[in-house]
Amino acid sequence: MIEEGIKECLEQLKKKGLTGDVYGIRSRILSYSIMNGEVSDSNEYEDMGLGIRVFKDGRVGFGYCAPGKEEIGVKRAIELTSLSPKTEMELPMGEKPPAVKTYDKKVERAMDDGIEIAQQMVDGASSVDDDILPSRGTLKIASGNVIVGNTKGLFYSQDGSIITGGVAATLPGEKTSLMASESSSSRKYDIDFEEVGIAAGERVVSMKDLAEIPGDKIPVILSPDAMGILIHFGLLPSFDGENVRKGKSVYEDRVGDEVAAGYIDLVEDPTSNWGLGSFPFDDEGVLSSPVSLISGGILDNFFYDLKEAVQSGTKSTANGVRPSFKSPPQIGSRNVMMSGEDIPREELFAGRTILVDNVMGAHTSSPASGDFSVVANPAWLVEDGIKKGRLEGLMISGNLPGSLHTMELGDDHKKIYDSIGSATINIELPSVKLKDVTISGK
């Protein structure tokens, strides 16, 4: 139905002598909620639609519609071209896309067992301590198909799947309840969801004892989840090609400079098999290939979509992304991976450190400077890898681009898939030790 819809839109554009591209998606999503200690309810729906971008007299218009309503969608997109500024952009020609593994049929099959899978998280969390209530959680299983076509004959289609689950474990505390959560996501059905529940349970149990916030400056270790959120809001905006061109990035005019410790690599690789943001092409039909952002500490490149590539005099890096078919493409990261010299856990946690498992307020980070000031919760004082007590009311602040020069990387790489507001966070990275963070709190 999507395929026919895209062909119909492109046919209509060609008949009118116009160029353009069409993005179509059909996905089936099944979700289960966990509430108050059990799997509570379920929701199944299909998301299906077409996003149409039309070029007329050098101007671009965007509209969207459901399959079957192609004429309305195309008409609306054409109408809006007259109100848009002149935009230079070259649509890509069709080539052979790279082979990227994004679909596991076992994920689709798992939809039939969704309730039992969600129950595994409940059972896992409950098994840690009799007083634990798996208070909230979600299991989401999705599979579908994305097609991008354009009037130059490009027509790509690829299936994708994802299974993501998380649970919050609650434990009655003295003053308030304690709560900790764990989540895991994969394009393959390879997650042990009972372990997800157990991790949430063990985490909340480790929050029982309190410790004093240290008065001195000690290293802060951010879990992959906490660091992933900080990187998304405090570092990746500086790699947006448009921000760089407009002087809103700390990396303006710095390609070739040393911007991180020599052992740090940051790469955008949507061709990595089973990467949560991997796909053989981006949402405007540009073929994916690995893009080095930082290599051995040296700044290499930025993110570009088709429009910004023309403005910046470069090529698209296949970073034209759409939050949904209802949005035109915009620059965005897809499958960022941070790696480097891994340090074993014992070494990373040697001496006195603070472990931060989640942060709140990362979206208030300055995208231009990378300055951040966030609430760290849950966080613990740790001595030689052993949690000595939870730190209540801890705030940490610092500058992320600056920290890249001295940070150390752990060996516990994790694929982070999260959403905060309208932002989807999709990064693979390990725990990170920051040595230049300011600590404050009650």
Binding site: L80, G361, T364
Partner: protein, 459 residues
């Protein structure tokens, strides 16, 4: 459509069926440095189906409107409920004696934005953008326009037959300045239920752009604060944000039943006696969270969540109201047809007190006057952190140094316990934002200025 849905409700074997047709016309314009950065116009519609079968909810949706497709969707919702009922032990009992609701509800709209052509809106935004960029120290600007016209029909097994016609619009002007590579922004925004005259009732678009420029220019000269606990005076926008983010979510019944900090606190003192905190879908016809009837077909009623410092209620839907032996008051909301209704706030605010704002400042020896919110986040324990646009030091009763890059954090209830003055002014001022609990929702919040204690974070 309403009659068709009423007939189809009878086709289900489930104990309860709810059909919600929702059509939305939306236009979005974004102007950045003189260019149209985003411009789209869309219409989409569909039907959300929720059933209660064997004590379990099932939900599904469709964008197709044929009888056959709707019946298939009802069957999919029933199947979803059947599967979940295999393991669920805490079944939803009878929903209770619900009074069916009927009627037509229309937003109060003065000069509908649909009567203003999109060309005129683009022209206005470009003009404002240009004005802002021509001002001293301003190197970039952004203007945003977002309008939504919603039509809904809700029918359910209780005999509810409701028709709702809503119009909401929000508008932003943002001026940017650059200080040694750091981007400084001044923001003025407003979001309302209503039309053009309602949106610009307090300030004209040009006045808003001027204010945004003035804020950015002043912040260029501001320093960062020192971190630590402090006495703070919050403006109505920040009071609304605390009422919504830090307190409101913890008293949503689904979070309460999941162990939020507000569980077991009913009837207990949780705030200063100066604090009365309310949620009300029709508190003001132009508040952005205007919700006369929720998506379960329940009429909106005022809910006093905290009265004189004592926790008095929770926000419920039909199911949790029965569990907690409360009355549902119109807080089950869905953002679009493909979303199931969940417990949401509408317009959440703290009631006025008797202090003058000047009096409040004069009495404060050492503290901060905080104005404007730059996003917020909170958890189920009411721990929150908010970005603050502008902060002034208060020294010996006078506003002195302007500060930037400020954030505040704390426990929402601790902050409310520390309130020692509530002003006599009032404003709904969160209307341009959205709440993002699992799905989007247009909400509003506000109150008077309020003095309390919180942790101030800086660089």
């Amino acid at each position: 459509m309403k009659d068709k849905l009423s007939k189809l409700v009878e086709k289900s074997q489930a104990a309860y069926v709810e059909l919600r047709y929702h059509s939305r016309e939306q236009k979005k314009i974004e102007i950045v440095r003189g260019d149209v950065e985003d411009l789209h116009s869309s219409t989409y519609s569909g039907i959300g189906v929720r059933v209660l079968h064997d004590g379990v909810w099932g939900f599904s949706s469709t964008s197709k409107m044929d009888d056959k497709d709707i019946i298939n969707t009802i069957q999919r919702a029933e199947k979803a409920a059947r599967i979940t009922s295999r393991l669920k032990t805490q079944k939803v009992g009878e929903i209770g004696d619900v009074i069916p609701c009927s009627g037509v509800f229309r937003a109060e709209v003065n000069d509908s934005v649909t009567d203003h052509p999109i060309e005129k809106k683009i022209e206005l935004l470009k003009e404002l953008d240009s004005e802002m960029r021509n001002k001293k120290s301003i190197n970039s600007a952004k203007c945003l326009w977002n309008e939504m016209q919603d039509d809904k029909f809700i029918v359910n097994s209780f005999g509810t037959e409701v028709e709702i016609h809503d119009e909401k619009v929000d508008f932003y002007t943002i001026a940017y300045a650059n200080l040694h590579g750091e981007k400084i922004s001044g923001i003025e925004s407003r979001g309302v239920t209503g039309g053009w005259d309602d949106l610009f009732a307090k300030s004209t678009p040009h006045e808003m752009a001027d204010k945004a420029v003035g804020s950015a220019q002043r912040l260029l000269k501001a320093e960062h604060p020192k971190g630590g606990p402090a006495k703070v005076i919050l403006n109505p926008e920040l009071v609304g944000l605390i009422a919504h983010e830090a307190i409101g979510h913890t008293v949503e019944a689904d979070f309460v039943l999941s162990g939020s900090v507000a569980q077991d606190k009913l009837g207990k003192k949780v705030a200063s006696e100066l604090v009365t905190l309310v949620d009300h879908g029709v508190a003001d016809p132009h508040a952005a969270g205007w919700t006369p009837v929720d998506d379960e077909g329940t009429l909106s009623q005022r809910t006093e969540l905290i009265k004189d410092g004592v926790l008095k209620g929770y926000l419920c839907d039909l199911e949790t109201a029965r569990v907690l032996e409360m009355t549902p008051r119109g807080n089950a909301r869905a953002y679009q047809y493909s979303d199931p209704p969940i417990i949401r706030m509408t317009n959440t605010f703290i009631e006025t007190g008797e202090y003058g704002v000047d009096e409040m400042i004069e009495e404060t020896k050492d503290g901060y006057y905080l104005e404007g919110a730059k996003g917020g986040q909170a958890d189920a324990n009411a721990e929150f952190t908010f970005g603050v646009e502008k902060a002034w030091r208060i020294e010996n009763g006078e506003l002195t140094e302007l500060l930037r890059g400020v954030s505040i954090s704390g426990s929402g209830f601790d902050v409310l316990r520390s309130v020692d003055a509530v002003a006599d002014n009032f404003e709904f001022s969160m209307g341009s934002g959205y709440c993002g609990k699992f799905q989007s929702a247009k909400v509003d919040g506000g109150g008077p200025n309020m003095r309390c204690e919180a942790t101030v974070g800086g660089k």
